[in-house]
Amino acid sequence: MKFQIEKDVFQDALNQVQHVVSNRTTLPILSNVLIRADELGLELSTTDLDVTITKRVSAKVSSTGATTLPARRLAGIVRELPASEIDFEVNADNAAAVRSGPSFFKILGLPASEFPVIGEFGEAREFTIDQKLLRDALRKTSYAISTDETRYVLNGVNCIIGEGMLTLVATDGRRLAMVEQDLEFPAGNETGVIIPTKAVNELQRLLDVSGELKVAISDNQASFELNGSLLITKLIEGNYPNFRQVIPAQANYRVTVEREVLLAAVRRVSLLANEKTNSIKFAFEDNRLAISANSPEIGEAEEVIDVRYTGPRLVVAFNPEFVMAPLRNLDQDEVFIDLIDESSPGVIKIDEPFLYVIMPMRVAG
């Protein structure tokens, strides 16, 4: 196998695929990137057996073939190469000779035949979605994914397609983020799948702000094809619990607040959040919101911001990180906080189909 490729092109492609490579070296081949050269160019693939990413790039191939090379190491070398063109030559023993300007590297690889073959894709439903739509929806929900491995069905984003809508949900039992987007959809294709965290992260890396992507969903796998890349992932098996159970039906009070002002104030006050309870207090009263924190052995913080609120005085405690996470991932200037009372779940909303349920913490005293 022999080919010549532009450094920048190769480096970008390696960066896109190398995150999948597993840190666990149970199977050495899984730390490698599969490089396949054909008449059209190169195909780079990495996998951890759950998530597989394949990326096509153009290259001048003078002799076709396939090999695998250690992905992270290769990416590190390519980044440092001095010239804009790289020459690759791989011999029958999977040793790659890499030349670029005055540099020469020899990298030992493993045979391509050892690289795991991604399981057959069964009968799948295929459709196309706007990249920006999916990108925004994932960004607004994925931070709420549970990391508790004992509740594995919650270790991903639940995607439901049906009723002319794309619904994305993530929750960890203390907060829940949901996006509902109108989506034109041929009837009979309703489906619900749970995309695991790692695939969600990789997908977010690949998604662009324009263009479309092709999605295929089978019983236990999903694939996403976009911008010359193909991501295949196993889906989380099991049923996502009925999340609507924890979304409060109606609120008694609504607070309207500027998102960035709130985010900045919470960030500052949280510096003195009580380490034991990890909570800060939100006191709503008379178009004002006083955010305060009190750490007995460290000190106190308070910041008052203007909001629109005319109800009675309400004092609610929240985990500041849980308040900041959605604020960071929204774009709107204004957000609404809907409250029932001091001990019921609060809901953050915007003027788009998004909601975020957050559990209050008990206020001491």
Partner: protein, 512 residues
């Protein structure tokens, strides 16, 4: 742990009593959480069953169960503790048929099929009912011993982590810690936990294939299979297990062929996400001539050490045994026994049996004072000979060639201060005494002890010579009355982190 009134496990199983209890708990929760939070989260919960080990709550939906567990576990367990005197593990089962507060709005949304999803996530409630007798037979066929259950394991501060890990693995085999690796010196409950995981797992999933063997049995089966040229059935048996429990894995040491076979068995099971639980008398890395690849696999999951039980735990264990065996032995007598026998649980049981027997043989009421006499030889044979503060002071004084009274005194020349600090350090690391108790033994305040322990530890790290002289005193002390001291026990004691007192023993916690 041992001073709550033992309550009858059958007391809260019938419905009126469960309802009564739930009313009480509800009232408590309304008070602590507020009316509206109670209404939102708990109004449709019921109590399923209550036993000392486990409280089962029936939730109106999986998501309810998850949120309540995440957010209100502490409130729940303190409410239960208030009415029951103790609170076992709280487990949630789901009954989707129950109504819900938010249901009014969500009913419509759930009708579309995509939103409403049945509660298959909690598989336990779908467990088919299998008669106790069948379970017993299956358990015995799997190599499980009846008496070792979670219900009669007494977790204490020495075994909390092991206990929690065992429960997690029994509830979710293959999903939490893979493998789970227990290690401790003998008689501290490894085997008990292995069997208990097996039984609980069998109860929750009666159809799963569970195998309990000692590594020696595994070896014998393997040799047998080779001789009879029947490796295929052997491999089929072990490699198709859903839960493999292996005791005494240290036996694998030095046996290359066996290790190779076990390696493949391990890999196959791990690949298929079947649960493996191992127990050994030392950490994986210390098993003699165990192949590196096996060591690293054993270290993949969670390694937990079970420590020697503290005084309270020992007392709780013995009271439990006494109740199980229906012995007429007073709490006072038990307290005397646990003060004297500090080693493993088997030694404790032996002492209890001996005392109970002597008590029944004599006509006079058995006085606590006689305990010492009756079990004198058991105390001596106890491998973890415990030394007292005074004994340590004497040994240190002897080593530094000064008078014991000087150590207790106020002189602060370099040599005497050093001797005093070494003595404090040794008392702290070799005895169960708390910081305050150590301090009072030396007539100092506890800050001084903390400082001394830190300083000696630092010096041990900095100077090998100093360390070996401290070790020398320690060895003399530990050997003291019993020249039979095993090398492992002495190594363990020298590894113990002296800054941590009893109740906060260092724990091997290896999560990758």
């Amino acid at each position: 742990m041992h001073n709550h009134a033992p309550f009858d496990p059958d007391k809260h199983t019938n419905e009126p009593q469960l309802n009564q209890l739930w009313n009480n708990i509800s009232h408590e929760l309304r008070g602590s959480l507020g009316e509206s939070a109670y209404d939102i989260w708990f109004s449709d919960f019921r109590l399923g069953s209550v036993s000392p080990e486990e409280i089962v709550m029936i939730a109106p939906g999986t998501m309810y169960a998850i949120w309540v567990e995440e957010n209100f576990k502490n409130s729940l367990s303190s409410a239960f503790t208030k009415f029951l005197g103790a609170c076992g593990r709280i487990r949630f089962e789901v009954n989707e048929a129950a109504s819900s507060v938010f249901r009014a709005e969500t009913d419509a949304a759930e009708g579309n099929g995509a939103g409403e999803i049945p509660a298959r996530v909690v598989p336990r409630i779908l467990v088919e009912k299998v008669s106790e007798q069948k379970l017993l037979e299956r358990g015995r066929a799997s190599g499980l011993v009846e008496i070792f259950r979670f219900g009669n394991f007494v977790p204490g501060e020495n075994s909390e982590l092991a206990w929690a890990a065992a429960r997690a693995v029994a509830d979710q085999p293959g999903k939490t810690y893979q493998p789970l690796f227990f290690h401790s010196s003998c008689g501290l409950g490894k085997t008990h936990l292995l069997h208990a995981i097996g039984w609980e797992s069998l109860r929750q999933r009666p159809k799963s294939k569970i195998i309990f063997v000692t590594a020696e049995q595994f070896a014998n089966d393997y040799i047998d299979a080779i001789q009879k040229n029947a490796l295929v059935p052997f491999r089929k048996r072990y490699r198709e297990a859903d839960l493999l429990l292996i005791d005494d894995v240290q036996f694998l040491g030095r046996k290359e062929g066996l290790q190779r076979e076990f390696f493949h068995t391990f890999n196959r099971l791990a690949d298929q996400r079947k649960q493996i639980v191992l127990a050994s008398d030392c950490p994986a890395s210390e098993i003699n001539e165990l192949e590196e690849r096996l060591v690293s696999r054993f270290q993949w999951g969670l390694g937990v050490e079970i420590h020697r039980p503290g005084l309270e735990t020992r007392a709780a264990i013995l009271r439990r045994k006494r109740d199980d065996w229906r012995m007429a032995v007073s709490d006072e007598v038990i307290d005397r026994i646990v003060e004297r026998v500090r080693g493993n649980v088997r030694a404790l049981e032996g002492a209890l049996i001996r005392v109970a027997m002597v008590a029944t043989l004599s006509d006079e009421p058995f006085s606590p004072e006689k305990v010492a006499e009756v079990i004198a030889d058991i105390c001596d044979g106890d491998e973890s000979r415990q030394v007292g503060a005074e004994e340590i002071k004497r040994a240190v004084a002897e080593h530094y060639d000064i008078d014991v009274n000087i150590i207790n005194g106020k002189k602060r020349t370099a040599r005497i201060a050093e001797a005093r600090q070494v003595a404090m350090f040794l008392v702290r690391s070799l005895t169960d005494l708390s910081l305050v108790e150590v301090a009072s033994a030396f007539g100092k305040d506890h800050g001084t002890v903390i400082y001394a322990v830190k300083k000696i530890k630092k010096r041990c790290e900095d100077s090998a010579a100093f360390k070996s002289s401290v070790e020398l005193i320690k060895r003399r002390l530990v050997r003291g009355g019993s020249p039979m001291e095993s090398p492992r026990a002495s190594r363990n004691s020298s590894n113990a982190n002296p800054r941590l007192g009893h109740g906060a023993k260092p724990v091997d916690f290896e999560v990758e």
